[in-house]
Amino acid sequence: MPTVTMTVNGKQVSADIDPRTLLADFIRVNLDLTGTHIGCDTSQCGACTILVNGDAVKSCTMLAVQADGAEVTTIEGLAENGEMHPMQAAFKEHHGLQCGFCTPGMVMSAIDLVKRHPNPDEATIREELDGNICRCTGYHNIVKAVKAAADATGG
């Protein structure tokens, strides 16, 4: 079995795994970080979105071995010293979730979005979140939350 080593949420982790292990499963099962959700398993819904070397990717469509040597950030890695990341805080403040299933992926995609568009308008936010599906909110409050977070972080 190959050994993979990567940095997840700032901590180096290493494991011997079946090379077929998906990154999403590695994160959830091997690392017990279950904030990354699996909604569809076919790269459609975006619930499994994480950051690999700073870019949003769907962890259900990537092998863990492909992330060997990478910097990975999951939803659990966002808070600092018990303080929510501004994006998380904005989702809470603007009620950008209902059941919460899509939320970890939504937040990770939104962080990538604000990195690429520091001052996004509503149309840009809606367009750029096209890889994340939410079955509850109707998206309005998600869009508000992303806008508020972008404004708060000085876009």
Binding site: D18, P19, A56, T61, L63, D130, G131
Partner: protein, 284 residues
């Protein structure tokens, strides 16, 4: 036991492939959904994304060279002349951002789906496919590379190393349109890529029109291309589009659309793409 290998040197990858039994993996965004990853990922996987020189965009000897492992997101951000606007428009609509951050141009072509958005664009840019194996390099036009639905001329021991595009020059303008049942994350019903070059007196000097998802392999509309050349580059140009120009297409009826709807959509999108280029101005 499944094997996984991610070499850094092309020579090493080609030697492995020469031994047989490997499945090439680039971004994995076609491979995984097609293989329901957990159970059926092909035995031995050769990951080509670590290979030196397989990604990136450059210009050499009158050709633009796009490495096969170049991700769609890198293409969107690349500094390219306006002839590549259509390619960027296509890239920005491949799946969503998370897919564009993984998926490669080479994977799109090798997968050879009739609905692959990169194919009509690159056909319209007269792209050539560069391939390597332990036996050496070879190159062929994209139109010959894709031989049918999900079939290519690639031999089992070959890797596509690059897409090479003859420089269309600074006057070339392009536009890409695609139609799906909704705007995002759908398989295309039809796509259209138009490239036009206007000469200084304001006539069409070159025209290339390619349609995807309306035939087993995307195809060029050479009769329409001939029709447009020599005509004034103005708002009347889109009116030159006529039904008979679409004779090379053979759209199918399926769950997404009827054949008749596909054909009508292709015609209307072609008009709109031509009009969009004219509206943008031929020479800046």
């Amino acid at each position: 036991m499944a094997e996984y290998c991610r070499p850094a040197e092309l020579g090493e990858a080609l030697d492995l492939l020469a031994g047989g039994g490997w499945r090439i993996l680039a971004g994995g965004t076609d491979l995984y959904p097609a293989n329901a990853a957990r159970d059926r990922l092909p035995g031995a996987v050769l990951d080509i994304t670590g290979l030196d020189g397989l990604d990136g965009i450059g210009k050499q000897d009158g050709f633009w060279r796009i490495g096969a492992a170049t991700r769609w997101s890198s293409l969107i951000g690349a500094d390219l002349p306006p002839a590549f606007d259509g390619l960027k428009q296509a890239a920005a609509q491949i799946g969503a951002v998370q897919v564009q951050n993984m998926a490669t141009i080479g994977g799109n072509l090798c997968n050879a789906s009739p609905a692959a958005d990169g194919v009509p664009v690159l056909l319209g840019l007269d792209a050539r496919i560069e391939m390597a194996s332990a036996r050496g390099y070879r190159e062929m036009p994209l139109a010959e590379f894709i031989t049918g639905v999900r079939r290519t001329a690639l031999a089992p021991d070959e890797i596509v190393t690059a897409v090479r595009i003859p420089d269309p020059g600074p006057a070339a303008r392009s536009h890409f349109l695609k139609l799906g049942t909704r705007s995002y994350l759908v398989i295309s019903i039809a796509m259209v890529h138009v490239m036009l070059i206007a000469d200084p007196p304001g006539r069409v000097a070159d025209a290339r029109i390619a349609i995807g998802a309306c035939s087993p392999v995307a195809c060029r509309l050479s009769a329409l291309e001939r029709e447009l050349i020599g005509h004034p580059f103005d708002t009347s140009l889109a009116d030159r589009v006529r039904e008979e120009h679409f004779a090379p297409l053979s759209p199918i009826d399926d769950v997404r659309a009827t054949a008749a709807y596909r054909l009508e959509a292709a015609r209307e999108m072609t008009r709109r793409a031509i009009a969009a280029i004219v509206a943008g101005g031929g020479r800046r």
